[in-house]
């Protein structure tokens, strides 16, 4: 595998550090006049999600990590694993609870999601930024109520619970931001 020098570090670059795949978050170059130059680098451990800071002498290198993002279709959950399929090669991969994590509540069968693969195996699952899901449970809607009113919880078909305006009722299809869990509006049918 290739390796990268500190001057090539860019945010988003995937590198190996202490045996774990990491994504570079930030790289700051610090140099005192004619002295030794350093790079203060913030990295996110893709396995644990932990972000930490490490200081390198400029010119030090890290090995590139075999991490790729791939668009795949979510098929089904068998109770233990979530199964995904590549839409063209029909190659299938399974991801466990730890990998899918919070993304699980946004996964609707047949939706296309992003799988982050490390050495060919799923490392993380990222749902689309916006999804449209049906409300399966919420308190009855109030007639004449407008968007200015309060909010109430609504359970969506995938199990996610979001705060919605009072006029929303069961059967409505909502547009939701998966990064914040925020209600964006009713989807036009």
């Amino acid at each position: 595998m290739a390796s990268y020098s500190t001057s090539e570090f860019r945010s988003g670059m995937k590198v190996m550090l202490d045996g774990d795949p990491c994504s570079i978050v930030e790289n700051e170059f610090v140099k005192p006049g004619k002295g030794q130059a350093f790079n203060r680098v913030r990295l996110k451990n893709l396995r644990s999600g932990r972000v930490w800071e490490r200081t390198f002498k400029s010119g030090e290198t890290l090995e590139a990590a075999d991490v790729v993002d791939r668009e795949m279709q979510y098929l089904y959950n068998d109770g233990e694993f979530w199964h995904f399929m590549h839409p063209e090669t029909f190659e299938q991969l399974q991801a466990d609870q730890e990998t899918v994590s919070d993304a699980a509540k946004w996964l609707r069968e047949q939706d296309v999601v992003t799988l982050t693969l490390y050495n060919g195996q799923p490392l993380a699952v990222t749902p689309p930024n916006h999804v449209e899901l049906e409300v399966v449970q919420t308190d009855p809607g109030l007639k004449g109520d407008t968007a200015q009113g309060g909010t109430k919880p609504a359970t969506l078909s995938t199990g996610a619970v979001v705060k919605v305006p009072l006029f929303v009722s069961i059967g409505d299809v909502l547009r939701v931001d998966t990064r914040t869990g925020e209600y964006l509006g009713r989807a036009n049918k």
Binding site: V30, K34, Q36, A37, T55, F56, K57
Partner: protein
């Protein structure tokens, strides 16, 4: 239509700044010298990487050598205000190409040169708070260790307690560079702090000075400005005053360079 990344207002301020700098030196009879940016040779500093130009030579990392040659030839006080180039330097405060002001005031020692810089800063940024601290005092006060007497092991232990380092540093000067840049400089406060009386390891001229016994030498000081930000478009501007004393020595003892 082309849209510059700097606003026209900022470009105007930059032009004004360059103008003020030239006026300052003109008023003090310090001559501007426009030395080559492209030379056949380059520096031997460990931590400076030059940009090489195919078949031609090197873009200069600073005008230092050309200027010192002029000084040795009897130019009197001189300054350079122009581009310098350093490979692999890229960051919030660094660019491979940057505008550098370097000057030599003949006859001034390091304290007098700091006073001259204070005049310059007071002119450019009138309301700025300017003070002076010695390297040893700032380091001792903020980190609790004397940088002059500390051993390599003590410095390494101090680093380990404060920073996560990818691989250990094996010389005292690099340890001091790290601790000063990451742990002292950020705590110097707003305004400008002159740092003087650097440890011997931090002095590029030391070996040379040692060779010449009997010359009266008050120590090399580097002065750095901190939290005194030029508008972004101006880029980094290194203010270097390290060689006032060396200059005296060149005049009195040294043969012409090169």
């Amino acid at each position: 239509m082309f849209h510059p990344s700097a606003s026209l207002d900022l470009l105007q301020k930059r032009a004004q700044l360059l103008q003020q700098l030239r006026a300052f030196f003109f008023a003090r009879q310090i001559m501007e010298v426009d030395v080559p940016a492209l030379g056949q040779n380059t520096v031997t500093d460990v931590h400076l990487e030059p940009l090489q130009v195919l078949d031609t030579g090197y873009l200069q990392t600073s005008p230092e050598y050309f200027m010192k040659r002029l000084l040795a030839a009897g130019s009197g006080s001189i300054y350079y205000l122009g581009k310098a180039y350093r490979r692999d330097e890229s960051g919030r405060r660094h660019r491979a190409e940057f505008t550098l002001l370097e000057w030599y005031s003949v006859g001034l020692d390091d304290r007098e040169l700091m006073a001259q810089m204070t005049e310059l800063f007071a002119l450019l940024a009138p309301a700025t708070d300017i003070r002076r601290r010695s390297y040893g005092e700032a380091f001792q006060t903020l980190l609790g260790l004397c940088p002059h007497r500390a051993s390599l092991a003590e410095l390494q232990a101090l680093i380990a307690a404060r920073l996560e380092l990818h691989s250990p540093l094996d010389n005292k000067s690099a340890c001091l560079d790290l601790l000063f840049s990451f742990c002292v400089e950020p705590q110097l406060g707003p305004g400008i702090t002159f740092i003087c009386d650097y440890p011997a390891e931090q002095c590029a001229w030391r070996a040379w000075i040692r060779m010449r016994k009997g010359c009266r030498w008050r120590g090399v000081s580097r002065c750095i400005g901190t939290a005194w930000s030029w508008p972004t478009a101006i880029g980094s501007c290194a203010v270097r005053t390290s060689n006032a004393g060396a200059l005296k020595m060149i005049r009195e003892f040294a043969p012409p360079l090169g």
